[in-house]
Symmetry: C2
Subunit: 562 residues, 2 copies
């Protein structure tokens, strides 16, 4: 990936070759954003956001920098969406203005895309089109075919991008589960037909590439949940799962029903996805879920709660359960109640989840995870499924994307083992001409990461983020100093510190003494030099705070002359 | 665990019963610090530090709060150390002043404890004693026997604490490896003898309690490393491992030697442990390691580098290898060179490690981990070893400590399954009277966590940490306003912001207009009220910054009247 300023000039993109450029999501997880160029036109696949780690204080979310495509706005023929997860659609609202192209996605994804556009006041301005698995749409020189896959939410599709220069299959997130409980089985027939037609390149997810063979199917999870819930009669039970996992929500409902429990949803995103799912024909056989108020009227132990927060997120339903004390107005869990984690641990969330579980256990709540029973299976392929896909498609070029280093490396090695002649792991911004004989890395185009910081969108390497990191560790301080024309300090200098020390009057006195002393040391002939005085003060205060507290804060001096 | 202010009065500790109180390390990982009380005397086991997560900005390390023991200083008969890991000895330098008791540990641990005391200027003041496995020392009413175990560093011991009220076995970190490559096999005979004598209580580590059966021994790792290194002739090879894992360092040396490579250490802590190991008779058959300078004189591909930084730590040797460009003065790794991760992923470090691996892979460096080959085994027991220990000791009371919730829960369930009549998972600060018939939770004593913040030691819940967290997200701002007696603003108000925005002159102008306007709105009769003016200004600036940037900074106002 290029930082924003490195690449002065774009590469020359040949118009007679099919070019692929990952602009987000090539390496690592999040921010899926891919461009295909052919005959001077550009097709976008997905437009997702990323989640900032704790090393990016104050940042709400991350976006792929759209500048390469923004400067080609009039040549963008459309954006196609593989599926409705945040890391594939979450940036649309932020970046649409830079792209201004029609959007094509399935009905379920469209519900969520439109709510994002609505939040940004773009509903009606952005041109959205609903497609279905099996559809083929023509966007300039690209014919895009939507091919049904399996994943942990409704309507995941791989895209077969047909062009005169060849066929590319872009998988999105997928697994091949021939016994899915929601939606239909994957369209193996269509995939095989693509293989027969001849696949030039396969752009394929790597999230869980090195994972062992899947332990089971969603149907197995449904059975296990039914058994586990049955083991704990007459106590409160909550199940944490990802809000978008509609199949899991249905599985939990079925498992609750089999045990005579009604189901209540706790957490806003669960209700949001529930609405999108029902609006597009899912959960048809599932009665409306209970609200928290309704659930509170039922006898304790008769309701099953589906909760957000399985990743230990603050302000989520599970975190509330860990915090709440007995009261009339909210659901309370205590000793011998049960919380089931029906989800995987997303890398990076280990500590937050461990802390949540510690707090739950401290209340005597029994915790069940996928270590105890098969209460979760992944929506990403593992084991033999990758081999199966490569055997069906037989691509000339493999382009593993979207995974941590070890997964990308594993995926590359597998692709070579499966006999793919050309295998590339690109960085974001790297452009490749897809050509079965001699694929060519063309160079790098401008790319990068933007950070949503409150109401601003700033480059990830912005000075403000660096300062925030320093301030986190070292604090900040501002001194106001009033001096007369002769450089005498008037009144008491005022010092404000943040993140440093509980104000200690003895320290303050000592500091003021040092300031007065430092002022007296300045050559009287130079007392008209504001910069000199400010620098002297910064040095004096930094030295004092470093001696005393081992801290070197960010500093400013307000010098007032009267 | 109690926060520092909750517990006003200590419980009454009966002098005729043996009492156990975890003061750190009961739940979670880190900060091992345990107290045993009998006949009015106190024995301390271990005194370790903890590592702060990224949610504790600016904090260097964590310490268990010693206040309960500090107020009983004259009754402390001694501190005994199970082994030399930081989470068992790292707090000694910080807390010795509060405890001032003799310290008993093995020779290897003593090297490291003394260097900690030296750093704090306490060497010679603290009374340290070297013991060996098999020794029995009498400390007041406690007879403490050191029993050889296995772990990932030299000289780990379990402690058999003999008293007239019964025998407690305190394991420290351990595994039972009957084929260790460093030190001798665990002293199963002594453990069995304790079982025959009758064990009242077992205080036992839980770090990896639910782990599957160990994949192998250190001897197996040695063989695998030899094979893996042999697969990559003539390229640079680095192996990342924990500095304290002297057995691993020796394994890597043997594997390098078998492949005709000399070994260079990169990283300060490796050299520190190397010195401690050699000073106490370890690494006898291993020639002095090469320094970086010496290694640079050797042909490329003829040296093997042992590196710090397998957890992705900044400023570590592996992070340097990922960053460095070709030059004459430091070791350079590039395309096709190899980095072997001979270590586990400590929970919480997943993201840092993934980032390190991504940076290494971006240079074309080949990465080998324990997913690819058996290049690491844990120093903590797993699978059947726990059962073996319980079968030997047959305790009346099991006290699982030191593990995340799921591990503690698993350990408790296992202890019950193995037939232990009484099983307790205590919180830090909870006191239990150890009595085979009816163990009794006595209540809570003052405990808590302290944070090392530069040169200060502050309570973990200190206001300054909360402010730092807020400041991370929202920034900070200070306004200096000079007014005359009539409340007219003199000159230009000065505003400093930190972590907010790149200063934008248009914004600054707008803000100053608002300030002037807000001053004009104040009832003239109240212009002598500093608090009113400051609050008005804070409100005005906060509102402006929130509208403009979505941020509500920490704020202060310096009001100058002239």
């Amino acid at each position: 990936m290029n930082t924003n300023d490195n690449i002065e000039n774009d590469i020359v993109v040949p118009t007679d070759q099919l070019v692929f450029i990952p602009l987000g999501g090539a390496t690592g997880i999040g921010m899926n954003f891919f461009a295909y160029g052919y005959q001077g036109k550009w097709l976008i696949v997905d437009c997702g956001l990323g989640f900032p780690g704790e090393n990016l204080p104050g940042i709400d979310c991350l976006l792929p920098d759209p500048k390469f495509l923004a400067s080609r706005k009039s040549d963008i023929v459309g954006m196609v969406i593989t599926h409705a997860h945040e890391d594939h659609i979450g940036a649309i609202g932020y970046l649409w203005h830079d792209l201004q192209c029609p959007i094509y996605c399935t009905a379920f994804a469209n519900e969520l895309v439109e709510s994002k556009l609505d939040e940004m006041g773009l509903l009606g301005r952005a041109d959205t089109h609903v497609v279905s698995s099996g559809d083929i749409i023509t966007l300039g020189p690209f014919e895009v075919e939507f091919i049904r896959m399996n994943h942990s939410l409704p309507e995941p599709n791989a895209l077969a991008i047909h062009t005169k220069a060849g066929l590319v299959v872009h998988t999105g997130d997928w697994r091949l589960d021939n016994d899915p409980v929601l939606g239909q089985e994957p369209d193996l027939k269509a995939l095989k037909a693509l293989g027969d037609e001849g696949v030039l390149a396969l752009v394929c997810d790597s999230t869980n590439a090195s994972g062992e063979h899947q332990a089971g199917t969603e149907e197995d999870v449904r059975k296990t949940l039914t058994e586990v819930i049955g083991k704990y009669p007459n106590v409160q039970i909550a199940v944490g799962c990802f809000a978008s996992n509609v199949a899991r929500v249905e599985s939990i409902y079925e498992a609750a029903k089999a045990n005579g429990r009604d189901v209540c949803l706790l957490g806003r995103s669960l209700w949001r996805i529930d609405a999108a799912a029902r609006a597009t024909g899912y959960l048809k056989d599932v009665p409306e879920f209970l609200s928290e108020e309704e659930a509170l009227e039922r006898p304790r132990g008769s309701v099953l709660y589906i909760c957000t927060g399985s990743q230990g997120e603050s302000y989520s339903a599970l975190n509330n359960l860990a915090a709440v004390t007995p009261n009339k107005n909210s659901v309370y869990f205590g000793a011998d109640d049960v919380v089931i984690f029906s989800s995987r641990v997303i890398p990076g969330n280990e500590k937050a989840i461990a802390l949540l579980q510690k707090r739950l256990a401290a209340k005597g709540i029994v915790i069940v995870t996928d270590k105890d029973a098969l209460v979760h299976v992944s929506g990403h392929y593992a084991g033999e499924e990758l081999k199966q896909l490569y055997e069906m498609l037989k691509p000339q070029i493999a382009l593993p994307v979207h995974g941590e280093t070890l997964e990308l490396t594993y995926h590359s090695n597998m692709a070579k083992k499966y006999g793919v002649p050309h295998v590339y792991c690109l960085e974001d911004g790297e452009a490749i001409a897809l050509n079965a004989e001699a694929p060519e890395i063309l160079g790098e185009v401008p790319s990068g990461i933007l950070a949503v910081d409150g109401k601003q969108i700033i480059p990830l390497n912005a000075e403000v983020i660096k300062k925030r990191r320093k301030m986190m560790d070292e604090g900040s301080a501002v001194l106001t100093l009033v001096i007369d024309k002769d450089g005498h300090v008037l009144g008491t200098p005022q010092l404000s510190t943040f993140g440093l020390l509980a104000s200690d009057s003895a320290d303050q006195e000592e500091l003021l003494e040092r300031i007065t002393h430092a002022m007296a040391e300045i050559d009287p002939s130079r007392l008209d030099d504001d910069t000199l005085i400010k620098d002297t003060m910064k040095h004096t205060i930094r030295q004092f705070l470093n001696e005393k507290y081992g801290k070197k804060p960010l500093m400013d001096v307000h010098l007032i002359r009267v």
